[in-house]
Symmetry: C2
Subunit: 673 residues, 2 copies
């Protein structure tokens, strides 16, 4: 009895995905076998018949994006990538979850070809996908011309109950419904089992109805039935108005003795159960990692179709480039991620004669955005319902919406976490430099997304305004205290807190130039003096992270004042007060410790000479970031408690952020108090 | 024409709430006038006819809880508190948002009588309220007896569109629906206006339908119509199965010239508009902060009703105490928050003879929970779908659910942020010591809630397991790197990372004893050696935060190794290797920097003598926390990059967390490399 008589080639392909996945988990003795077993049919039907992809060029700009939001099911994705011919070898499959393999526990973008985003922390992938779909819709509106569709792809997502439970998915999917992102198609792998037990222990919501409330097109199908799957994908692809949710009822650990049990979720099945699963599937081969040749041939038919699709697209793009050379050049430029020459030429330099000598750094940031936006069409972003506070609006541009796909301003609503994940998705898509604003305090809400942006190294710019007790009356719930340190702690995130309008301009330049990672700008609500570029060192020194903004006069410095943001001008005043008392103080502006730490030792020693150990760091925030620079013989003027509700000048006075107190602390360090 | 002929007393009361609120915002020249104007009728009908409260005793245990989740509308709450006779004087109303007033920009629990939780960061209050309703349901099931209902109150919430957009509200409200918390009643102030514009710019979801998908009872009413409001509250109060959402259509800035505009949201109306608003309301008095005497009389009738209700309850409680003296004593004990004598007597001391000499600190934590749970009925908690990983289960206890209100185990689903806010709500309610677990990395998801717990000073215990690269194969998405520093940065949060099973027991004691703030326990996935209490200093030293766990032999120490958690035993091995090479090293276990920093200077100098400047801190995490202790002449063996997916022993080796490398780094510090 030949297997082909019993089991169709389609079945065999699905089972190849399944067995490869559980073999790898078994070999690693670690991983999640349950979802690959259950979701394999949905994956197979999608990749075989709908997904537009070319394994030979995983970066083809017009490919469909496939996001495995349920990243714990990574072996499902690695099996697909291997079987469809991506550069993921069988050896790598066998080295699942091992040191320096490209098949880590959870999919990592940049490590493995075909992995569109790093997933695992639940809710992130589905939210990144919303950003990818936004990018597609915007770029399509900008670049497509009648008869020339060069941007026309979909974003497909596989999501789990965990993705649905996480708040970030609520935020992002509500936005997707609002924006009517019809080319976003989410398969909800509804297997009724969480890691620790049946979903009935914690989840009663009707996910489909919830998404209907968001304005999505919802279908409910049997995820083991390939006809139903094919039909559902067809309907979703044809939908012109709404994003799609396919509620795909599946069985975790399908065909294994642990089917429908949480025991199939997060642990290897065990050698015996692997054997029994294969028996139950009618699998004929004992050898682990066996791939029937006829399946490989079949998988590769889909890959060849994709290859052809890319060739067609290439021809279309050539025709487009002939018809619209300027647009094609702009497309190429935007997709390259490079900053156009002279993009920053309209950024002004401010002097104390401007604006009555004062400007908040948030206002300066808004002016920089508007100075660069005309020359930097890739720049697109907005705020989590604080546009006027965060100064994120690009003047003269519309609001990106269901009706206006060209608009570059975005209103994310009060959805910081969703915004964060969406920004990453936009950056991952390519072609855009996304930014998003909220109050610095509420960076807390979006750390899950910020961390993954940093881990992936995507260029996203966070505009965190109201960056201290200087926001005043809103009080301690809104005043950041620990956020600067907490953000600086994130590896790969660049945090810049500029001291005035001119430093803000260079902070923005640094952020835009930082194409390998996210940047967080910490900006004031309150006005700050515009420092006279003829009196202090040039603000362009921001690119070194920290610099001597004002040297001690009349001899070597006795004490170094190190400050960021709003506290720099206080230190400059303290420097004068100290000078009047015969004490020589150097003031170091340190807008970015991450960049400073990357400077050569010689430069760092020049700014902070090892022999000058009397150092006072001043920042209206927890001191944690500063001990590294001031050491045991230095001091930090910071805040080790929460703020209060009052006008900000009162708070600065009450909490000791005055030139007088800074000078007093410096004198105390020198034993001259 | 007397006002009474035109305007009913009810109208006048509503308008008194309104005018008082906008006058205060105007005087502060800062704040949010729009929602108090729009939501005043809903507040008035609730407080006047439904809410069970006694201004004379804001802490009456059986009061209804009122949560203003939309904390920016703080003046609505302060007006209510003043008018109904809480100890919030008119002077305090006039000092809205000023230094040391009890009327800060956003409501702060503990500062102002009648403020049940600190709100302002959106989504938190409504989620705290879910925790309050859980606490009520659980305590009612534990303590009520036929004919003796001593726990029987409701939790009312006023929420805004921002609350609804935030992901945390999705998480918590999905849980509330699952748990069928019918005594939770949320008024959604549906005014169609966000801070930056109409909600139509960012929000299309049908909130009512979404909550129906969660299993809530949803009513849709005109929030300006007192009859509809009264009817809706009546229905909600009578509902026996489901939590209630009342979608109350209102008008932001009602009766002001800015009605229905976002301009009425977050800024004072302006003197002119205040005047016009009062005219539009038919308000007869020019004097700001004027309160018509007849309204005050009317408000106080409701307050007197509440006073009577508390007296009735007191009588009922007396009868209960006679009928069930043991239960009444237990109730009193639990509500006091005190730890019963000997609650910890069953916690074992472990020795290297136990458990093959090894135990992960997460397993030790689980054993401690189970050792104290029988004597500490207030202890209740669970995990965000990682119960078996986090070791959070109380054996022999049921799962708290719609069917079982007695169960003390909770399954929050994959909803870390919702869990965090719910835990705070349970603690705020009183009677419980709540705990919740997830992986340390995912503390990022719940920082919004952790911060507010710390700001409020509520006793919540976070069980953060899988606390380093030591979790192994799950890889960098799951391996915490920056979380320890980021959590330590939060003022008021106590972070404890115990070195072995015995330190874990004392970490738990410290957490339980810390009744004025939250504690985060960082626990390993991997096994650690059980340190021999006869060889090292007693683990009870955890209560000092840091201590000399093993002194250098043969003379004063030349170098100090400072470590936490899993790295302590590595340092103990390094100490021996160094001794073999003739180098004297002291090992300091520093499970909690917050507690250590509070010790007397003398003790701290004893542990870290100022003259010993060669100090090496060792923690498999970002170094940021440690510069404070090692200074410029010391060193930190940490991680400044993300982890990787591989078995944990490989990772520890590859990343240099070995006794050999620690010894080498120590020797390098001493110039003996």
């Amino acid at each position: 009895m030949a297997i082909d008589q019993q089991i169709s080639l389609d079945d065999l392909c699905v089972n190849t995905i399944r067995t490869l996945s559980i073999d790898a988990v078994q070999q690693a003795n670690s991983g999640h076998p349950g979802m690959p077993l259950g979701a394999a049919p949905a994956a197979y039907v999608l990749w075989q018949h709908f997904l537009k992809f070319n394994p030979k060029d995983p970066n083809w700009p017009d490919r469909d994006r496939f996001v495995l939001s349920a990243g714990h099911a990574s072996m499902l994705l690695y099996s697909l990538l291997h079987l469809y011919g991506y550069d993921v070898s069988l050896d790598e499959i066998k080295r699942f979850r091992q040191w320096e393999s490209i098949t880590p526990g959870h999919p990592e973008h940049g490590l493995t070809p075909g992995v569109e985003t790093t997933t695992g922390p639940l809710g992130q992938g589905i939210s990144n996908a919303v950003g990818m779909a936004i990018a597609e819709a915007h770029l399509a509106a900008i670049f497509n011309r009648p008869g020339h569709e060069i941007v026309n792809h979909r974003t497909f997502v596989f999501a789990s109950d965990g993705d649905m439970m996480e708040g970030v998915s609520h935020e992002a999917c509500a936005i997707a419904g609002h924006l009517r992102l019809n080319k976003l198609i989410v398969v909800y792998d509804d297997n009724k089992v969480m890691l620790s037990g049946p979903t009935s222990e914690a989840m009663s919501e009707d996910v489909g109805s919830r998404f209907e409330a968001y304005g999505w097109y919802v279908q409910r199908i049997d995820g083991n039935n390939r006809n139903e799957l094919e039909n559902a994908y067809n309907n979703a692809v044809q939908e012109r108005e709404r994003p799609s949710l396919i509620v795909s009822r599946t069985h975790i650990g399908f065909a294994s003795p642990l089917q429908d049990s949480y025991k199939a979720h997060g642990s290897p099945l065990g050698a015996d159960n692997v054997k029994k699963t294969k028996q139950n599937l009618g699998w004929q081969w004992e050898e682990p990692f066996y791939i029937p040749p006829q399946t490989l041939e079949h998988f590769h038919e889909a890959s060849k179709r994709g290859e052809q699709l890319q060739q067609d697209w290439q021809q279309r793009f050539s025709a487009y480039a002939q018809a619209y050379p300027d647009l094609a050049a702009q497309w190429t430029s935007m997709m390259s991620g490079a900053l156009p020459d002279g993009y920053d030429s309209a950024i002004p330099t401010w002097s104390p004669a401007d604006n009555k000598g004062e400007m908040s750094t948030r206002v300066a940031s808004g002016k920089v955005i508007n100075a660069v936006a005309p020359k930097l069409p890739a720049l697109m972003g907005g705020s989590a319902d604080l546009a006027t506070s965060n100064e994120t609006l690009i003047e003269g541009e519309g609001l990106f919406s269901a009706e206006d796909r060209v608009g570059r301003n975005m209103n994310f609503g009060v959805r910081e976490h969703g915004m964060g994940a969406i920004l990453s998705g936009m950056a991952l898509h390519g072609g855009l430099i996304p930014y998003g604003g909220t109050f610095l305090t509420f960076s807390d809400y979006m750390r899950g997304a910020i961390r993954l942006a940093a881990l992936m190294g995507v260029r996203v710019i966070y505009i965190f305004t109201h960056d201290s007790i200087g926001l005043g009356e809103d009080g301690p719930t809104h005043q950041p205290i620990e956020q600067l340190a907490a953000l600086r702690a994130i590896p790969g995130l660049t945090v810049i807190r500029p001291a005035d309008a001119n430093e803000t301009a260079y902070a923005w330049r640094a952020a835009l130039a930082n194409s390998n990672g996210p940047t967080a700008l910490a900006l004031t609500r309150q006005n700050l003096p515009i420092l006279d570029q003829n009196q202090v060192a040039p603000a362009s020194n921001v690119e070194r992270g920290g610099y001597i903004i004002s040297e001690a006069q009349g001899g070597d410095p006795e004490v170094i004042l190190i400050a960021t943001g709003s506290e720099v001008s206080l230190c400059l005043q303290a420097q004068q007060q100290l000078a009047a008392k015969g004490t020589r103080a150097r003031v170091v502006s340190m807008p970015c410790t991450e960049i400073f730490d990357k400077q050569p030792q010689q430069y760092r020693d020049q700014v902070l000479p090892p022999n000058i150990t009397k150092r006072l760091a001043v920042e209206a925030a927890v001191p944690m970031s500063w001990h590294k620079y001031v050491g045991l013989q230095g001091d930090v003027l910071g805040l080790t408690h929460y703020g209060a509700s009052a006008p900000y000048k009162v708070l600065y006075e009450k909490f000791g952020f005055t030139p007088e107190n800074i000078a007093a602390r410096a004198l105390a360090l020198l034993g001259r108090a």
